[in-house]
Symmetry: C2
Subunit: 148 residues, 2 copies
């Protein structure tokens, strides 16, 4: 089991899991990470400044709990904590507690989390980038629909 190449392990994982199957654990994992809060948290922890250049600059800067809740406008503490916990459990983020008074807690992406971040960031960017197209498509669709 130790004499497997990375490519072999890749193939193993591919054949072991199939998210198209209802009972497969990877389906549940897909459902977990297919979540707007997950996308936004990963984007925030991955370093997603509004003044970022056109080519992807990665500065995975750890953020404190309060900083996260400020960036993700409208998130409830419950959802933030809950989502962070599940991400921590899955090994996507590290929770670092600094024993000051009051306690300081920062979150940072693990390597695994960073690998997912690269994908999820694309999703968020896609949404912002194609918003206008989607809006236009919806208008067309609704007009057609009301016309007939």
């Amino acid at each position: 089991m130790a004499t497997r190449t990375i490519a072999q392990r890749r193939e193993d994982a591919r054949t072991q899991y199939d998210a198209f199957l209802a009972g497969c654990p990877s389906r549940q994992l897909l459902a977990r990470i297919s979540d707007k809060w997950v996308a936004l948290i990963l984007a925030a922890l991955g370093g997603d400044g509004p003044s970022s250049g056109d080519h992807c600059d990665d500065n995975p800067q750890p953020l404190r709990y309060s900083e996260l809740s400020r960036r993700l406008a409208g998130v409830s503490q419950k959802m933030l904590t809950q989502t962070l916990r599940s991400l921590e459990r899955d090994g996507l983020v590290d929770r670092i507690v600094t024993p000051t008074v009051p306690t300081t807690v920062t979150y940072r992406l693990t390597d695994l989390g960073l690998s997912l971040h690269h994908l999820m960031r694309g999703i968020k960017d896609w949404a912002e980038l194609h918003m206008n197209d989607v809006l236009a498509n919806r208008e067309n669709y609704d007009l057609r629909d009301s016309g007939r």
Copy 2:
């Protein structure tokens, strides 16, 4: 307004929309596409054969409604229809009705949908690929947690 380059339009969209903001339409769009059924439908329509090679082969093959419901094991007709409708409305899939008896309906990705598919497929693959790591991380976390 017609004399904008693609790069300029990119910048416009970036500055116009920000999914971190609660009221922004792109946040809603992000929530829409951050959905396991969306991920699976796009993956299915994008051509995601289990016997695919190691380098991404794109064969965006249109699928019929019944074929989709068979591939996405466990999906209810409601969710399938509902998700397909929203994807159609947003211009991500085309719904093609062939007036046979009984009616034949096929769904295929639009160019816009295909562009999202490339990203979403990565998410699904990531879930299957890193399932074992995540499982191990969870076990560790739960052990730690019960220990203290």
